[in-house]
């Protein structure tokens, strides 16, 4: 099958959607399909052979933060050329409602279009204003995929219609087979995520940390991620700052080893999560997970059966749960076992088969993808040159 995938965000900036697309493309190529990914990228960035650059993304303030987006005449032309050259059986657009490549391709293509909705943003005023413009583009999508039940619910509320739920994929064995590192073992809590992004929840964990240390004085907190380290520990008493170790940005291998080593992985995110891939990675590596009870997290953790949940933004509750887990090796082993069994449904083997099933469903009895000849008037009057 010839598959075209559209990535809305810069290929050179790491992010959940980009990683998902990279893994999906490599999985599909591994199964023998022809895959081409259209993504914004600087011309100098080295790209894998299956990625086609759609030009440089422009930083624009959008939706409360600065997003790097592609739009304008030049990008639209590149999208059309990619569609024309690719003659795809199906195209898979990620984030079709964001004003970037996704929307442009939706606008320019016709034929079997699959779209994945990753985020679950509350309905914004811009979206309401743009609804009449979005609708004609979005109604071309033959199949919608939401990454979680929560994302599906917001999609149905905002745009109407329906979607199937297919979770994000994880290479479970990569995490399960990583080698633990001795210096990261022994009474350790793990946290991975941007330090200076409050929604990732490090401040909540820092508030809870003194109480955890009171009960278990040997505990260490390992933090992997970008951001200002001094500011992060500023709220801690000076004597406790030594118990926090910053690892900076870590490679994929080190991330897996870290998750294999820690006694408890803590995900104190306070919002803005529609899936929670890091929880799946932690469970794949066999780390007992303690997460805030966001809708998306509760669903990934099977409503608390595969990992512990605490009340969101409640440092007290987080501390209590962490202390209980650190002092109960039996419960940790139980969580490890449940987690490892639970994550099989997020393995690429399962997720990839589901996504291919969607492709096959929409290509059954449909022509291949082509550019949408919007100025069809001449053609309709029989004046078009063929």
């Amino acid at each position: 099958m010839r598959i075209g995938i559209v990535c809305p965000y810069s290929w050179d900036v790491p992010g959940g959607v980009q990683f998902h697309i990279r893994d999906l493309a490599e999985h599909l190529i591994g199964l023998g399909h022809e895959v081409s990914v259209l993504a914004p990228a600087d011309d100098e960035t080295p790209l894998p052979p299956y990625v086609v650059s759609a030009g440089r993304a422009v930083p624009v303030p959008y939706n409360g933060s600065v997003a790097r987006l592609n739009f304008g005449f030049l990008s639209a032309a590149r999208v059309r050329r990619w569609l024309h050259d690719g003659t795809f059986d199906v195209i898979h657009i990620h984030e079709p409602a964001s004003p970037s490549l996704g929307l442009l391709s939706c606008w320019a293509a016709q034929g079997p279009i699959v779209a994945t909705f990753h985020t679950s943003n509350p309905r914004s005023r811009a979206m309401i204003a743009a609804y009449p413009i979005l609708q004609p583009a979005l109604e071309k999508i033959s199949a919608r995929i939401a990454v979680s039940e929560y994302a599906r619910r917001t999609l149905v509320e905002h745009l109407g219609g329906d979607a199937v739920v297919i979770p994000n994929g994880v290479d479970v064995d990569f995490f399960a087979k990583a080698e633990p590192k001795a210096e990261w073992q022994g009474g350790t809590l793990g946290f991975i995520g941007r330090i200076d992004e409050p929604r990732k929840g490090l401040p909540v964990l820092m508030k809870a940390f003194p109480r955890i240390l009171e009960a278990c004085p040997d505990t260490r907190l390992l933090v992997a991620g970008r951001g200002d380290e001094e500011e992060a520990v500023a709220s801690l008493p000076a004597g406790m700052r030594g118990r926090v170790e910053f690892l900076g940005m870590v490679s994929d291998e080190d991330k897996a080893r870290l998750l294999r080593s820690v006694d408890v992985y803590v995900a104190p995110n306070t919002g803005g999560e529609s899936f929670g891939i890091i929880l799946v990675e932690a469970m794949s590596a066999g780390a007992p997970v303690l997460a805030s009870d966001l809708d998306a997290f509760a669903q990934v953790l099977d409503q608390g059966a595969a990992g512990e949940l605490f009340a969101n933004e409640d440092a007290e509750d987080l501390a209590k749960a962490a202390v209980r887990l650190l002092g109960d090796p039996v419960r940790r082993t139980e969580l490890r076992e449940r987690g490892s069994a639970h994550v099989r449904r997020f393995d690429w083997a399962t997720v990839g088969a589901d996504i291919l099933a969607v492709y096959e469903t929409v290509t059954d009895g449909a022509a291949s993808v082509a550019t949408d000849e919007r100025l069809g008037l001449r053609a309709r009057w029989g004046l078009a040159r063929d």
Partner: protein, 182 residues
């Protein structure tokens, strides 16, 4: 005077272009419904065929075989107006027969059973998928067709008002161990 006339002509041309574009949109939506319906029919037929094959394979006990054969046969032969009921009954029969994991194990253990079980699992998962895509297309077309501009200018032509396909497509638990996929 001339100026007013020019403006009226410009306005009429703009309205004409807009209506023509809307008609194109509607046409594309109808094509999408047709493709989605064809895909749904293909998946339903596939499911009924696998069920019938299993029913006649001798792997199941006679009672289960008869129940499953009846339902699969009725689903394949159903007239358009009885289709939703017949397919729902096949879903119920599949749930009754393959409600327990042991039954699936027995099918897998038989010669060629692994393949048949895989086909059945794929079929019962793809039917809800295809139905969701079909009903999503129907909803989009209905929303546009209810619009004033479409009704007043009869842009839908003689195309019938699209109907959603409503049925019970809950897969048997032994075959749906992957949550959140239906």
């Amino acid at each position: 005077m001339i100026e007013t006339l020019i403006w009226i002509v410009v306005g009429l041309v703009a309205i004409g272009l807009y209506l023509s574009w809307t008609a194109g949109r509607l046409d594309r939506l109808h094509a999408r419904i047709d493709a989605a319906r064809a895909a749904l029919d293909a998946q339903l037929l596939r499911r009924a065929s696998v069920a019938q094959e299993l029913a006649t394979s001798g792997v199941l006990d006679p009672a289960a075989s008869i129940v499953l054969y009846e339902a699969a046969h009725a689903a394949r032969q159903a007239e358009e107006e009885n289709r939703e009921v017949a397919e729902s009954e096949l879903s119920q029969a599949l749930r009754a027969v393959f409600g327990e994991a042991e039954q699936m194990e027995a099918v897998r253990a038989a010669p060629g059973g692994e393949q048949a079980a895989g086909e059945l699992a794929a079929a019962v998962r793809r039917v809800p998928m295809a139905r969701r895509f079909h009903n999503d297309a129907v909803r989009a077309a209905r929303a546009l067709r209810r619009h004033r501009k479409v009704r007043w200018f009869r842009l839908a032509g003689h195309a019938p008002f699209p109907m959603a396909f409503e049925m019970d497509d809950e897969p048997p638990t032994a075959l749906a161990d992957r949550p959140g996929s239906g």
